[in-house]
Symmetry: C2
Subunit: 245 residues, 2 copies
């Protein structure tokens, strides 16, 4: 029994998210497990670093799994890339310590939200960006983002209202920059609640559009009420950039 760590890229456009579902084979986990299980001729369960929602992309999602049949790293990578659909790709396969677990060992994750901030149409990147035609004031967004750095209860930035576990998380940094027609928001943290990145970005966008004050963030955090925060931005603009161990 050997343990492997793999790094996966996917265009999430047509998938119902990372996590395997009973009634659909349109999940990334489900697709990879099916191909792996066929290769080794026994059932394989893979553990992702965490879920990504329907329509969210990944540049570097990480997963781990154990298999009984002896295979080299290259054999695993070639087989997966041969039989996976063309919107899911494996960019690394490494044998890992037997104790390595892609979810339990996560130190932090980095997400990027891409906003096409122009009235011009976005043709080639349309599936990976969300368009906002009015110009965003990113200096305002940067000021507001500072209030989110550090350890806070992010209950107001979570779409799951019945969350029973702790909603305290730590954000290491939020980087906001303009690159040609795009505004890129990159967020690293030790963990993210359901839709947390998309709600944070939605709130920052409202601040960048002068619909909200930059210093409204502390109050949103304190009151812990979802409705006080901004809208959840669409899934297609979000990419899981990296998982750190």
């Amino acid at each position: 029994m050997k343990n492997y760590k793999i790094i996966i890229q996917y265009d999430g456009t047509k998938y119902k998210g990372w996590q395997r579902l009973k009634n659909s084979d349109l999940t990334i986990q489900g697709k990879i497990e099916a191909v792996l299980s066929k290769m080794v001729e026994h059932k394989v369960e893979i553990h992702g670093s965490g879920r990504t929602d329907a329509g969210v992309h990944a540049l570097s999602q990480t997963a781990s799994f154990k298999i009984e049949t002896p295979k080299t790293e290259k054999q695993i990578m070639d087989y997966l890339n041969r039989y996976l659909p063309d919107d899911i790709g494996i960019i690394s396969v490494k044998e890992a310590d037997e104790r390595f677990h892609a979810r339990l060992n996560v130190k932090s994750k980095t997400y990027q939200y891409r906003i096409w901030n122009s009235e011009l149409p976005c043709i080639f990147e349309r599936k990976y960006t969300t368009q906002i035609t009015s110009t965003l004031d990113i200096e305002r967004m940067k000021k507001a983002a500072e209030y989110l750095i550090g350890t806070h209860d992010f209950k107001a930035f979570c779409s799951n209202k019945k969350l029973k576990k702790s909603s305290v998380r730590t954000i290491d940094f939020i980087d906001i920059k303009r690159v040609e027609n795009e505004v890129l928001i990159t967020i690293q943290g030790n963990g993210f609640l359901h839709n947390m990145v998309r709600i944070i970005c939605g709130t920052l966008v409202e601040i960048g559009l002068y619909k909200r004050e930059t210093d409204s963030i502390p109050e949103i955090l304190n009151f812990k009420i979802r409705e006080n925060a901004g809208e959840t931005l669409p899934a297609k603009g979000l990419t899981l950039l990296n998982v750190e161990y």
Copy 2:
């Protein structure tokens, strides 16, 4: 009656090419004409700088057309972008001299062919690149490309064997460079025969893979036989970068 010059971007993946067809509404020209005609309430014919084949993309295709109904440039642009599908976009609309004709006035065109030159899967750019897993020797390709610069009879690089018109064309430059996992071939010329860019790139790729000699080009040009040249690379890697007037 006013004359307009428009610049169009499109992801050609699902289209049967630029040129309007009788039996299909899946052409870029057809889509734009339909929306324009609806806007001005009379039939509008647009003239593209030239055709692009099924599956070929454009970063900056140019077209001209005349309309009778008075409309501002902004009205035309907004209307088109509102009603065109999300894989076709108008990035510029300018009133033009009444004698301007997007096809007849072309000075040159610039195409780019994108090769994903890696064994790794290409997820996010998969629709705009062609994968070649073996490493291309681009120094060999550059040497070979020099033989193509200038004015030649490109009959061997044309897939239309019944061509009655002249197959003499002038290539201004061929630029070949590696950018991370991609090899980019950029070609500018005063006109291109059917599939000429894709056959030139296919021939250069065979040279880059040591399947052909660098100095085989003059002979291919001289003999004017299509079979002597390389394969036609897939449409999806090709983008019309720009049209010069």
